[in-house]
C-alpha cells in the first residue's frame, strides 16, 4: 500500500503481529470514492493515453511484478527433518541416544562391552529414519498431486500505454495502467472502472456470490467490495467490456491480501499430534518412574553406580515402543489411501484423524452446498406456483406443462433471452452444456430447452425484429419478434424484467391461456407469489407479452429501439419465473448425518441472508420447524427486540452485524444457537468465526473453494478445499481436498477419521501390552539375579517383527457400533491413550503375558537341569566367562557357552510365548466393548496377521543359521504350548471384563429421558417423543438404552422430523437429538417393543 495510504506505514515497524491484525481488517481501497480525474492524478496516468512506457517500467521496478508471492515454501530438507524429529520420533531418538550413552559408559569401563546397547541404538535410529522417510514420501506424494492441480496458464492483459493498445503479460501490469477487459477475460489487477459497456464480473471466488455483478464507473457503495466501480484481480469478466485504471497490483490487491493473510496464519497442532504428545508424556512418565525406582533399588542391592546408571538407561529404553511409530504411520497412511479412494485427498497424514474429532463444520455455501449454477426453481402462472426440477440429474418432480399459459411463458422466456449454447456440445446433457450469457438467462435457456425442446428452433421460427437490452434504469429487457404463423402478420412483443416493473406495464393477465383483465385480486395474488418466491431467496423475473395490433404496426414496421416508437404499455402479464443456485442432491442427507454424529454445521457465506437462509433450510442446516428470532417475531407479530433470543435455535447473522459484535456476544451466539447461518461475510470475518468456534473448544472443519475462504481454511483445525472448483490458494491452505466437490464426502471423512481414532487406540493398546513381558525379565534379572530371560534382540524381533502386522491389521477393524451416531470426541476428556488404557495394557494383560513368558523360561531351564530353586542369585556365576564348570540341580557341569545356549533358547521361548499370548491380545484388542463373539472374526488382515506372526516366530526359531545371526535356537515342540494357558486366561479375563462393561456402562446406568409410543396401526413404526426426565430404568429398558440396539443395522434407518429433545444413552454419554425419531423397525421388534416401551400418558 506504501504511499497510497499512510495508515499502513506504522504497522511496518511493529512486525508481523501487527501486520496480521492489519490484514484481518477490511480492505483499504479508497479509489472507488475518488473521481476519475483524481485517480488519474494519483497514478500519474492519463484516461486516454494511459501510462508512458517509462513510467510503467519505473512502477514495475517500484512495485514488483503483478503476481501473488507464493506462500513461503519450506525447503525439502526442513520438511524431511520435521518428519524425522517430530512427535513420536523424539521419543525414539531419546532412546537411541541413551543407548549410545550406555554403550559409551560400558565401553569406557569394561573390557568386553556387550554390544546390545549399541545394536539397540542403531536399530532405533534406523527405525526412526525409515519411518521418517516413509511419512516424508507419503506427504511428498500428496503434494505432488497438489502441483498437478495448479494450472499455470500464463495470463495476458490488454493495456493502453502511450495511447497504444498492447497485449502484455499480466505480471507486467503496474498501478496506473489503463486496462481493457472483455467478457471471458480474467481481471489482471484491481481496477477502478472508468467506463463500462454491459460489463459483468463474476466475483464468486472473492465474495461467494454466485451471480455475476454488473460494473459501471459510478461509486455505489462505500464498501469497496460492494461498489460497482471496482473490479478485482483474478475474478472473471463474464460479459461486456470495461476499461479501468489499475489501483493495486500483486500482493496489494484484495486477492493478494487474502493470500498473504492465509500464508501468514499459523495453524495449530492437529488433534492427533496433541494426542501423541499426551501419549509420550504418559509413556515417559511410566518409563522414568520405573527407571528411577529400579535405579534406587539397584544401588540398594549393592550394584555399582555405573551399573545402576546402565540399568536405568536400559529400563527407560525398554519402555520405548519401537514399532509403534511405524504402526501409527502405516495405519494413518492406510486410512489416507482409503479416503483418497472415496474422494477425500489428505495432504497431511495427521489430518486423517482430525475430521473424526471435528465438532463444528463451517461450510461455504456456493459450490460446496450448492451446485454453483443458477437454475429455474419456481414458476408462477395460472395464479399458481409451480415447482421446477432443480436436481442435478433431473430426477425431481415435474409440473403440469399442458397449460397454454406455460406455453406462452416458455415462449417469452425463450425469445426474450440473449443466452445461447456454445457450439459443439450437442451430445452433452443440457444441464452440462456451457452457455454464453448471463447466469439467469442461461438458467432460463436451459429450463426451456429441457421442457420445450430446442430454443434455437423457437427463435428461428420467431425472427427477432428489434431488441432493447436490459439496463438498470428500465429494469427490463424486450424484444419484438415475428410470429410463428406465416399468415399472421402481427408482431409479438416479449418483455422480461423486475416483476413490479413488468406488472406496472400490464393491464391484462393470461389465465389458462385466456387473457383476462388485471384486477386488484389478481394483483394481490401476484404480490403474494412474488413475496413468497422472494422469501425463498430466489431471484424473480416477470414476463409479459403483447401481440401488436396489425393496423398500428403493419408488417415491415421500423421499430426504433433508441427512440422507442412503439407501445410498451398495456401488455399482457404471463407469469413469473424464479431462479436459485440449488443445493446439491447429496447435501441434505450429509448434513443430517453430521447432525446425528453430533457435528454442528454452520453456513458461512458471502451471499445475501435471504438466499443463504433459503439454502440453509433447503439442506437442513436450519432444520424444519426451527425458527430464527425474526421468524418468531413475525409469527407472534411482535418486534424482534421482544423475542427471547434463547427461544430461537436458529439464527441468521449478517456480516455487518457481525462487525459490531463483541467477542462475548459472538461466543454467546455460537454457544446458544445450534443452527447458525452467517451471510454477507468477508474473508476476514470467516476467520473470526473460525477463531470464535475454536475459542469455545470446538475442533473446526472449514470447507470452501474460493480465495475468500482460504484464511479460514488455514486457521481451521482441518481445512477442506474443493478439488474441482477450488482455487489454488484455497487448495494450498487446506489440509484435505474433496476431489468430487461434494459435501457428502466430508461425512465419509468423518467416519474414517473416527474409525481410525478408535482403531489406533486398539493398535496402541495391543503394542503397549507386550512392553511388560519385555521389561519384567530385565527387572527380575537385576533384582533376583536370574539368568536374563529375554534379550534385546528378541525384544526387537517382537516390536519390529511379530507385533507389526497384527497391530496394523487392527486399523482394518470394523466399527463396533455406529460411529456416526455418537458425539464427536471431547478432546479434553477422550484421549487416545489414557490412564485406563495403560492400566489395562500394563497392569493386567501385560502382567499375564509376562507370567506366560516366565513360565516357559522356567520350563526350559528346569527341563535342562536348572530348577527354579537354584536360579535365584546364579547370575554372577552364570555370566562369568571364566566359570566353565557351573553345576546345575542334577550335578552336571556346564561351560559358559553351553549354558548361554540354554539361555538363548530361553530367550527364543520367551519370544515365542509372547507371540502366543499376543494372539489372545490381538483378539482382545479387536473390540473395546463388544464380545468377540458379537463382533466376529471378519477382519481378514487380522487373521493373516495371526498366521504371519506365528510363521515369523517359527522361522526365526528354526531357520538354520539363526543361532549365529540372531542367537535364536530351535525350540522343542512342547515349549510352544507353555504360554497357551496364559493366552486362554487373557481371552477369558477380557471377555469377562467386557461383559461387565456392557452390563455396567460408565459405572452407572443413566436415566433415559424419553418416552416411546408404539403405534399399532403401522406396526413397524415406533415414535419416540419428548418427555423430560422420566427414567425408564429396569432390566428391560437397559436393552433400549444400549447403543447397540439403536445402532444395529436394522434400526439405522430412522427419519428425523418434528421437534422435541431426546436424550439417548449409549452408556457413556447422553446425546441430545432435537428430533422425534421415527424408527422403522423390522417386524420382530414391535413384539419386543411391547414389553420394553410403554407409552406414558402425558
Amino acid at each position: 500500500m506504501g504511499d497510497k495510504d499512510g495508515k499502513s506505514s506504522p504497522s511496518k515497524k511493529n512486525k508481523k503481529g501487527k501486520d496480521m491484525d492489519e490484514l484481518k481488517k477490511e480492505v483499504p481501497i479508497t479509489e472507488h470514492k475518488m473521481s476519475i480525474e483524481e485517480c488519474c492524478r494519483k497514478f500519474n496516468t492519463d484516461i486516454v493515453q494511459g501510462l508512458t512506457n517509462a513510467k510503467a517500467a519505473e512502477f514495475l521496478i517500484r512495485d514488483g511484478p503483478n503476481c501473488l508471492t507464493p506462500p513461503p515454501t519450506t525447503p525439502e530438507w526442513i520438511k524431511f527433518c520435521r518428519q524425522l524429529f517430530g512427535g513420536f520420533s523424539i521419543l525414539l531418538w531419546t532412546g537411541a541416544i541413551l543407548c549410545f550413552l550406555a554403550y559409551a559408559i560400558q565401553a569406557a569401563t569394561e573390557d568386553e562391552p556387550a554390544g546390545d546397547n549399541l545394536y539397540l541404538g542403531i536399530v532405533l535410529s534406523v527405525v526412526v529414519v525409515v519411518t521418517g522417510c516413509f511419512s516424508y514420501f507419503q506427504e511428498a506424494k500428496s503434494s505432488k498431486i497438489m502441483e498437478s492441480f495448479k494450472n499455470m496458464v500464463p495470463q495476458q492483459a490488454l493495456v493502453i500505454r502511450e495511447g497504444e493498445k498492447m497485449t502484455i503479460n499480466a505480471e507486467e501490469v503496474v498501478a496506473g495502467d489503463l486496462v481493457e477487459v472483455k467478457g471471458g477475460d480474467r481481471i489482471p489487477a484491481d481496477l477502478r472502472v472508468v467506463s463500462a459497456h454491459g460489463c459483468k464480473v463474476d466475483n464468486s471466488s472473492l465474495t461467494g456470490e454466485s451471480e455475476p455483478q454488473s460494473r459501471s464507473p459510478d461509486c455505489t457503495h462505500d464498501n469497496p467490495l460492494e461498489t460497482r466501480n471496482v473490479a478485482f484481480f483474478s475474478t472473471n469478466c463474464v460479459e461486456g467490456t470495461a476499461r479501468g485504471i489499475v489501483v493495486c497490483t500483486g500482493d496489494r490487491t484484495v486477492m493478494g491480501r487474502i493470500a498473504t493473510l492465509t500464508s501468514g496464519l499459523e495453524s495449530g497442532k492437529t488433534p492427533i499430534a496433541k494426542e501423541i504428545e499426551h501419549f509420550i508424556h504418559l509413556i515417559t512418565g511410566v518409563a522414568v518412574f520405573l527407571g528411577i525406582t529400579f535405579f534406587i533399588l539397584a544401588v540398594c542391592l549393592g550394584y555399582t553406580w555405573l551399573e545402576a546408571v546402565i540399568f536405568l538407561i536400559g529400563i527407560i529404553v525398554a519402555n520405548v515402543p519401537e514399532g509403534l511409530l511405524a504402526t501409527v504411520t502405516v495405519c494413518l497412511t492406510l486410512t489416507a489411501k482409503r479416503m483418497a479412494k472415496k474422494n477425500c485427498l489428505v495432504k497431511n497424514l495427521e489430518a486423517v484423524e482430525t475430521l473424526g474429532s471435528t465438532s463444528t463444520i463451517c461450510s461455504d455455501k456456493t459450490g460446496t452446498l450448492t451446485q454453483n449454477r443458477m437454475t429455474v426453481a419456481h414458476m408462477w402462472f395460472d395464479n399458481q406456483i409451480h415447482e421446477a426440477d432443480t436436481t442435478e440429474d433431473q430426477s425431481g418432480a415435474s409440473f403440469d406443462k399442458t397449460s397454454a399459459s406455460w406455453a406462452a411463458l416458455a415462449r417469452v422466456a425463450a425469445l426474450c433471452n440473449r443466452a445461447v449454447f456454445k457450439a459443439g456440445q450437442d451430445q452433452l446433457p443440457i444441464l452440462k452444456r456451457d452457455t454464453a450469457g448471463d447466469a439467469s438467462e442461461s438458467a432460463l435457456l436451459k429450463c426451456i430447452e429441457l421442457s420445450c425442446g430446442s430454443v434455437k428452433q423457437i427463435r428461428e421460427k420467431n425472427k427477432k425484429v428489434a431488441e432493447i437490452p436490459f439496463n438498470s434504469t428500465n429494469k427490463y429487457q424486450l424484444s419484438v419478434h415475428e410470429t410463428e404463423d406465416p399468415n399472421d402478420n402481427r408482431y409479438l412483443l416479449v418483455m422480461k424484467g423486475a416483476p413490479e416493473r413488468i406488472l406496472d406495464r400490464c393491464t391484462t393477465i393470461i389465465i389458462q391461456g385466456k387473457e383476462q383483465p388485471m384486477d386488484e385480486e389478481m394483483k394481490e395474488s401476484f404480490q403474494n407469489a412474488y413475496m413468497e418466491l422472494g422469501g425463498l431467496g430466489e431471484r424473480v423475473l416477470g414476463f409479459c407479452h403483447l401481440l401488436m395490433p396489425e393496423d398500428q404496426y403493419p408488417k415491415g414496421f421500423a421499430f426504433d429501439c433508441d427512440d422507442v416508437n412503439f407501445t410498451t404499455e398495456s401488455l399482457c402479464f404471463v407469469g413469473l419465473m424464479s431462479m436459485i443456485d440449488p443445493p446439491r442432491a447429496a447435501v441434505p442427507d450429509a448434513v443430517g448425518k453430521c447432525r446425528s454424529a453430533g457435528i454442528k454445521v454452520i453456513m458461512v457465506t458471502g451471499d445475501h441472508p435471504i438466499t443463504a437462509k433459503a439454502i440453509a433450510k433447503g439442506v437442513g442446516i436450519i432444520s424444519e420447524g426451527n425458527e430464527t428470532v425474526e421468524d418468531i417475531a413475525s409469527r407472534l407479530n411482535i418486534p424482534v427486540s421482544q423475542v427471547n433470543p434463547r427461544d430461537a435455535k436458529a439464527c441468521v447473522i449478517h456480516g455487518t452485524d457481525l462487525k459490531e459484535l463483541s467477542q462475548d456476544q459472538m461466543d454467546d451466539i455460537l454457544r446458544n444457537h445450534t443452527e447458525i447461518v452467517f451471510a454477507r461475510t468477508s474473508p476476514q470475518q470467516k476467520l473470526i468465526i473460525v477463531e470464535g468456534c475454536q475459542r469455545l473448544g470446538a475442533i473446526v472443519a472449514v470447507t470452501g473453494d474460493g480465495v475468500n475462504d482460504s484464511p479460514a481454511l488455514k486457521k481451521a483445525d482441518i481445512g477442506v478445499a474443493m478439488g474441482i472448483s477450488g482455487s489454488d490458494v484455497s487448495k494450498q491452505a487446506a489440509d484435505m481436498i474433496l476431489l468430487d466437490d461434494n459435501f457428502a464426502s466430508i461425512v465419509t471423512g468423518v467416519e474414517e477419521g473416527r474409525l481410525i481414532f478408535d482403531n489406533l487406540k486398539k493398535s496402541i493398546a495391543y503394542t503397549l501390552t507386550s512392553n511388560i513381558p519385555e521389561i519384567t525379565p530385565f527387572l527380575l534379572f537385576i533384582i533376583v539375579n536370574i539368568p536374563l530371560p529375554l534379550g534385546t534382540i528378541t525384544i526387537l524381533c517382537i516390536d519390529l517383527g511379530t507385533d507389526m502386522v497384527p497391530a496394523i491389521s487392527l486399523a482394518y477393524e470394523a466399527a463396533e457400533s455406529d460411529i456416526m451416531k455418537r458425539q464427536p470426541r471431547n478432546p479434553t476428556r477422550d484421549k487416545l491413550v489414557n490412564e485406563r488404557l495403560i492400566s489395562i495394557a500394563y497392569g493386567q494383560i501385560g502382567m499375564i503375558q509376562a507370567l506366560g513368558g516366565f513360565f516357559s523360561y522356567f520350563v526350559i531351564l528346569a527341563e535342562n537341569g536348572f530348577l527354579p530353586s537354584i536360579l535365584v542369585g546364579i547370575r554372577l556365576n552364570w555370566d562369568d566367562r571364566a566359570c566353565n564348570d557351573l553345576e546345575d540341580s542334577y550335578g552336571q557341569q556346564w561351560t559358559y557357552e553351553q549354558r548361554k545356549i540354554v539361555e538363548f533358547t530361553c530367550h527364543t521361548a520367551f519370544f515365542v510365548s509372547i507371540v502366543v499370548v499376543q494372539w489372545a491380545d490381538v483378539i482382545v484388542c479387536k473390540t473395546r466393548r463388544n464380545s468377540v463373539f458379537q463382533q466376529g472374526m471378519k477382519n481378514k488382515i487380522l487373521i493373516f496377521g495371526l498366521f504371519e506372526e506365528t510363521a515369523l516366530a517359527a522361522f526365526l526359531s528354526y531357520t538354520p543359521g539363526m543361532d549365529v545371526a540372531l542367537r535364536m535356537f530351535p525350540l522343542k515342540p512342547s515349549w510352544w504350548f507353555c504360554a497357551v494357558p496364559y493366552s486362554v486366561l487373557i481371552f477369558v479375563y477380557d471377555e469377562i471384563r467386557k461383559l461387565l462393561i456392557r452390563r455396567n456402562p460408565g459405572g452407572k446406568w443413566l436415566s433415559l429421558s424419553l418416552c416411546i409410543t408404539f403405534r399399532p396401526e403401522s406396526c413397524h413404526e415406533i415414535c419416540i417423543c419428548n418427555f423430560t426426565h422420566k427414567s425408564l430404568i429396569d432390566t428391560k429398558t437397559r436393552k433400549l438404552s444400549n447403543a447397540s440396539l439403536f445402532s444395529s443395522p436394522t434400526l439405522s434407518s430412522y427419519r428425523l422430523g418434528g421437534k422435541g429433545d431426546i436424550l439417548l444413552s449409549d452408556g457413556y454419554r447422553l446425546y441430545s437429538y432435537p428430533y422425534i425419531f421415527h424408527l422403522f423397525l423390522p417386524p420382530f421388534i414391535p413384539s419386543l417393543a411391547r414389553h420394553v416401551f410403554r407409552c406414558p400418558t402425558p
Binding site: I848, E863, N884, T895, G1002, R1069, Y1071
Partner: protein
C-alpha cells in the same frame, strides 16, 4: 458420568479455584491425584485380588511342570552332549614369583582345598573298580563310586611337595572334565597339553599318559551319585630357567576319544587354554 447439562456447570466453577496443587490433592473433593481415597482403595483391592489370582495360577502351572520332571535325570541333556574341560587352580592366568610365597600361596591353597575330597582316607571308602571298563550300575538302587586317590597324582598330589612344584618354578595344574550324567566316552580319553611356542615344553602327566579311566563313567547324577568324584589329570609344567619371565600359553585337549575338542564357539569344550608366567 453426568448428564450433558451438568458438565458445563461443573467445568464452570472449576477454573476459578483449582490450581496445579489440586491435581495432587484436592481438599474440596478429597481427591488425591484425581481419585478419592475410596477409589484408590478399590483399585488397590482390585489389583491385590487380581495379582493374588495370577500368583496362584503361576504357582499352579509351575507345580504341574515340576511334577513332570524326573528327580535324577534332567528331561533334556542334548545341550550338554560333550563335557567341558576346566583347570585348577581356578584361574586362566597363573602368574607368580616362585620366591614369593604370598603370590603362589593362593594357588597352592586352592589346590589343597580342592584335593581334600580326593584324600586317600576319604577315597578308601569307595569301590576299587575294574580298570578300563565302564562301571555301569543302572540296575542298582544305590550307585557306588570308584575311588580316585589323591596319591595317584604323585608329585602333583601335594603330599610330597606341599607347594605343588610352585617353589621350584615347575607348577602343577589339575585338569578335570565336567560331570555329565550318563556320559560314556568311547575310545581311550587322555589329556594332551601343548605350549604355544616353537620348541615343545616338557610336561609330566599324572596318572601316567594323562588318562581318564573308563571306570569313572558313567555319572548318575547328584541325587543318586552324591559322593562321586571326577577323575583328574595333573600336568606338571617342567619350566626351565629360560622360560621364566615369559608368558606361556598352554592348551590342554582331551584326545583319543569321541569327545569334542575343537568347537568353534565353545573354547572350553574338550579343551582348555591358560597362561602361565613364572617370575624369578
Amino acid at each position: 458420568m453426568s448428564t450433558k447439562e451438568e458438565t458445563p456447570v461443573a467445568d464452570g466453577d472449576k477454573p476459578q479455584t483449582s490450581s496445579w496443587k489440586d491435581s495432587i490433592y484436592n481438599p474440596r473433593t478429597g481427591e488425591f491425584i484425581g481419585r478419592t481415597a475410596k477409589s484408590w482403595a478399590l483399585i488397590l483391592l482390585f489389583y491385590l485380588v487380581f495379582y493374588g489370582f495370577l500368583a496362584g495360577m503361576f504357582t499352579l502351572t509351575m507345580w504341574v511342570m515340576l511334577q513332570t520332571l524326573d528327580d535324577n535325570i534332567p528331561t533334556y541333556r542334548d545341550r550338554v552332549a560333550s563335557p567341558g574341560l576346566v583347570i585348577r587352580p581356578r584361574s586362566l592366568d597363573i602368574v607368580f614369583n616362585r620366591t614369593d610365597t604370598k603370590q603362589y600361596g593362593q594357588y597352592v591353597q586352592h589346590l589343597e582345598n580342592f584335593l581334600q575330597q580326593y584324600n586317600d582316607t576319604v577315597q578308601e571308602r569307595n569301590e576299587l573298580c575294574m580298570v578300563g571298563e565302564y562301571y555301569e550300575q543302572d540296575d542298582q538302587e544305590e550307585k557306588k563310586v570308584c575311588q580316585f586317590k589323591r596319591s595317584l597324582l604323585r608329585q602333583c598330589s601335594g603330599l610330597s611337595d606341599t607347594t605343588f612344584g610352585y617353589t621350584e618354578g615347575k607348577p602343577c595344574v589339575l585338569v578335570k572334565m565336567n560331570r555329565i550324567i550318563g556320559l560314556k566316552p568311547r575310545g581311550d580319553p587322555y589329556i594332551n597339553c601343548t605350549a604355544k611356542r616353537e620348541s615343545p615344553l616338557q610336561m609330566q602327566y599324572f596318572p601316567s599318559e594323562g588318562r581318564f579311566d573308563k571306570m569313572y563313567f558313567p555319572y548318575y547324577g547328584k541325587n543318586l551319585h552324591s559322593t562321586y568324584v571326577q577323575p583328574l589329570v595333573a600336568v606338571k609344567l617342567l619350566l626351565t630357567k629360560e622360560d621364566y619371565n615369559n608368558e606361556l600359553t598352554v592348551e590342554c585337549k582331551i584326545e583319543g576319544s569321541d569327545l569334542r575338542n575343537s568347537d568353534d564357539r565353545d573354547k572350553f569344550l574338550g579343551r582348555v587354554t591358560f597362561r602361565v608366567k613364572v617370575v624369578e
